[in-house]
């Protein structure tokens, strides 16, 4: 079969060449004039060449035939004939090529040479494109964690082939779902909503969907509809890979004065391997270790760090002694060591709240939190003071807890006597036994606030265990004397529901957003200002856990030494307190620079984390922060390809393709043409020699 390398107009030019060669045979040569005694004998000699028919002139002209044969071979070579390859059937094709991290594995052997899975997939797609029937349209999509349309539907194979060349490997994880959504756009038109007129909006256009991947992704929950999928498995079942699946730096559990680096190394290959691991700080070798890892097992490596690291980048490199590793991208990991970030919390109490103080005073809190407490009994005017005002409005605290008190109201506009909303601080807040006067929370001017207390002891009906604040908090079995009910504001959530039947709602614990902050309202007092308790929750195990969750969630402290690793392609949002500028420059591991701006929430979001490595954020001419992007993804690192494409309804087995790359003939034809050219040259020389 043929797949032309040229477009139609190029073919016109090529087709004109043989005619040109023929024409050259009729063209008069520029001959050197020579005077001779008589042309008598010459005329007689060339008489039989001067026959009338032009075809007679070409008769037995072996040079012409050789030249035409040469051209014919060249033209056939340009047609790019191939064997091993059947015509695709259909008129609409979608080629979906995986370019995730695992596709960088070099376990495909073609002609004795190791090539990456992506190259192999691209080769197969090229072969498929070349075997498309005339007039068929095809589309090319590459996908990793998202999908990218490399070439929309076209009937020009050259455009498709160019688009195939444009597919580059990425370090990202794999998700097929978006590629399927893009593919199905035309094949499965959405339906009209109403039941009476359930009509297809556009005609269904069935398409053949070729998925070229190693199948390293989650089960795909997607209805294919008119798409007819075919899974081309890329990769070798015997692929070997040693990978770092975790790497972090933390204090020694037994001795908090010591720091250790931890890594887990997995052997995903079929053979036992011995791995040599090297730990670098910057470019200095800090430690190394050799460890045997049986096939399919994980090995934990810890490096006790003798040197005192405040900040810096630790790099871990591994390599198997046999060098049998088909995927290199997961053989290096970085961790950025930084000082822990402690949450700053201000607790303002109407009167001394021993229960709260106890809950905030555990050892764990000492590690996480810098706590300031204010007792309004001792400083009655604190909330009105300038100190509070500056601290609250400058964002000095991550969380302010108001126990039975609330911030002062806003200053009314001039001349207004109307009651104003509460002047909220610029941080997250927690209210205990009270609520801010905010219209979003259902407050109206003149209304009783907090809402009236529901006298009958409320009973906890339900709690939202999925929220981080309620994580592992087992409610029930505690009593509440008095409480008021709340309704979550728009975007908020009810965390504890009760049987309170009041106008203001039934929620006992409610969280709601306020601009970029969140407010948590506990609608019952823990203790009474007058003395005595309102609930016995403080005696239960769940209470300190609830306070810990609240502080962790709303105060967002970071206790580990290392910054969390980012997965490739994942967005990063960094809060950098030490920068005054509103712009920072992020230098990627590849050296590209991206300028990002500060958001109103005082964070710097960065989304182009495509490469693995260390990203440096620079501002005011210095490095202000660093973060590491690592492929800690066992699914990507476990490189032996899946035999089936795991669709939720039924698995799609891989189609066996014995010949990964089609044998192309053009090289042989071009060689033959060269031989013909040599023969022609020989014949020509023999003829002109006297």
């Amino acid at each position: 079969m043929f797949s032309s390398l040229l477009t139609w107009w190029q073919w016109l030019i090529v087709g004109a060449i043989p005619l040109g060669v023929l024409a050259l045979y009729f063209l008069k040569l520029k001959r050197t004039p020579v005077e001779v005694p008589s042309t008598y004998l010459w005329h007689k000699s060339i008489e039989d060449l001067h026959v009338n028919s032009i075809w007679q002139r070409l008769r037995n002209n072996i040079l012409l035939w050789l030249q035409l044969l040469l051209l014919l071979l060249a033209i056939i070579a340009l047609l790019n004939p191939t064997f091993q390859g059947s015509k695709l059937i259909g008129s609409r094709f979608i080629f979906v090529v995986d370019n995730s991290a695992s596709m960088q594995s070099t376990d495909v052997i073609v002609d004795g040479e190791r090539i990456s899975r992506l190259e192999s997939a691209k080769g197969q797609v090229r072969a498929l494109i070349e075997s498309m029937p005339e007039g068929a349209v095809a589309m090319l999509i590459s996908f990793a964690d998202g999908a990218q349309v490399m070439q929309p539907f076209t009937d020009n194979p050259n455009d498709l082939l160019r688009a195939v060349d444009g597919i580059q490997p990425t370090d990202k994880p794999t998700s097929l779902i978006e590629a399927l959504r893009v593919s199905s756009g035309l094949s499965n038109p959405t339906r009209t909503g109403s039941e009476e007129q359930d009509r297809i909006k556009a005609s269904v256009m069935p398409a053949k969907l070729y998925v070229l991947s190693d199948g390293k992704f989650d089960v795909v929950d997607f209805a294919l509809g008119a798409l007819e999928p075919e899974y081309r498995k890329i990769g070798n079942d015997d692929a070997r890979n040693i990978s770092i699946t975790a790497f972090s730096v933390d204090e020694n559990i037994n001795d908090s004065s010591k720091v250790e680096a931890f890594a887990s190394v997995d052997n995903f290959g079929p053979q036992d391997e011995t791995v040599f691991a090297e730990l670098y700080l910057g470019n200095t070798l800090v430690d190394n270790v050799r460890a045997p890892i049986p096939a399919g097992r994980t090995y934990g490596i810890s490096f006790p760090l003798a040197i005192d690291i405040d900040s810096g980048v630790l790099e871990l490199r591994i390599r198997p002694d046999t060098n049998a590793d088909d995927l290199r991208v997961d053989d290096t990991a970085w961790v950025v060591v930084d000082n822990p970030h402690r949450a700053r919390i201000l607790a303002i109490m109407e009167t001394r709240n021993v229960a709260l103080e106890l809950a905030l005073g555990t050892t764990r809190f000492d590690e996480l939190v810098t706590l300031d407490t204010v007792n309004l009994e001792e400083e009655p005017n604190y909330l009105q003071s300038e100190t509070y005002r500056l601290q609250a409005l400058s964002g000095a605290y991550d969380l302010i807890i108001y126990d039975r008190c609330r911030p002062p109201d806003r200053d009314p506009p001039d001349g207004s006597t109307e009651e104003q909303q509460t002047d909220m601080p610029l941080c997250n807040t927690m209210f205990i036994g009270t609520a801010p006067k905010l219209t979003s929370w259902g407050w109206t001017p003149g209304a009783e606030w907090p809402p009236p207390v529901y006298i009958a002891p409320p009973t906890v009906i339900d709690s939202d265990r999925s929220h981080p604040i309620m994580d592992s908090v087992a409610l029930g079995n505690f009593l509440i004397a008095e409480a008021f009910g709340m309704t979550p504001p728009s975007g908020g959530r009810m965390l504890i529901d009760s049987d309170i039947d009041s106008e203001s709602g039934s929620s006992l614990l409610t969280i709601g957003p306020r601009e970029s902050f969140e407010d948590l309202i506990l609608s019952f007092n823990l203790i009474e200002t007058a003395g005595g308790i309102n609930t016995d929750w403080m005696n239960k195990q769940s209470f300190p856990l609830f306070i810990l969750n609240t502080v962790t969630y709303l105060g967002s402290p970071r206790d580990t030494l290392s910054l969390a690793s980012v997965n490739p392609g994942e967005p990063v949002e960094l809060k950098i307190d030490t920068v005054e500028s509103d712009e920072v420059v992020v230098v990627t591991p590849g050296g590209e620079e991206h300028t990002i701006k500060r958001t109103p929430q005082s964070t710097f979001p960065f989304i182009r984390t495509d490469e693995i490595g260390v990203y440096d954020m620079r501002a005011e001419g210095r490095s202000v922060a660093k973060f590491a992007v690592n492929l800690f993804n066992p699914k990507e690192s476990n490189i032996p390809p899946n035999d089936n494409l795991e669709f939720i309804y039924e698995p799609l087995p891989a189609t066996e393709v014995t010949e990964t790359v089609k044998q192309e003939w053009w090289k042989w034809l071009a060689g033959l043409a060269l031989v013909v050219l040599l023969v022609e040259w020989f014949v020509y020389n023999r003829r002109v020699s006297l």
């Binding site: 040569l29 005694p37 005329h43 007689k44 000699s45 002109v688 006297l690």
Partner: protein
Amino acid sequence: MSTVSDDLLSPQLLAQLERLELVTRKIFRGRMKGERRSKRKGQSVEFADFRNYVPGDDLRFIDWNTYARLDKMFLKLFLEEEDLHFYALIDASMSMDFGTPSKLLYAKQLAAALGFIGLIRADRVKIESVGQPLTKRLPALRGRASVWRMLKQLEEIQAGEAVDLQTGIKNFCLRNNGAGIVVLLTDLMDKSGYQEAIRFLLAQQMDVYVVHILSQEELEPDVSGDLRLIDCEDGDVAEVTINGPLMKRYKQTLNSFVGGAKEFCTRRGMTYLLANNQTPVEQLVTNYLRTRGLVR
């Protein structure tokens, strides 16, 4: 001798030529008393025939011995010795001007050599060119003393006569009706053909020698590539691409041309001789012409 004459006849050649004489296979009637047998019966020492005596015959030739035996008078006849007509007819067309030495010079040398032999043997020698007008008659030369005049005549023949072979020979025949030896010195390169022309000589009952002079360039052309060959006589053009096969075909054509001429001449009792202008004239005269029987 002038330089030109020197070119035509070198002293060494003259010495060789002294010993030679022209020969004819036919017996012609001469004009004057010479050194050759003639058809005419006359006064020589060589007996020819008897005939009956008729009154008035010279009594000195009666064979008295026969009269004594037979009592009849017979007259003894002797062969007459006369001179020989030698014509050298030189083709002086443009094509003869080619070659090193040129074919014309070669022809002149040959004519001079043969003419010299004729002069020293008391034959009548006439040098003419093909292009000589019908009305212009040159005197026949006789005797050693005429060598100078012969050479002068030869010098006056210049290449560039635009008369075809047939007309030229016809004119020659009209001018010279006497029998004798004619040596035609030509390259036979006449597009209208040489056969008709040579037939005129046959009709004259002459002993014809055709010396076909071809230059080395014609026999072994040293040309190659894509050429436009221009005929120097009529400007005719032949476009050729010289290659192996064409060269082969040219040689075939040349061979058939030469062979055809030879066959044509031989069949008609003429002597044909192919002369390459590279062959020295001395060798040609003393060797080839001798074996052909023109000289002895």
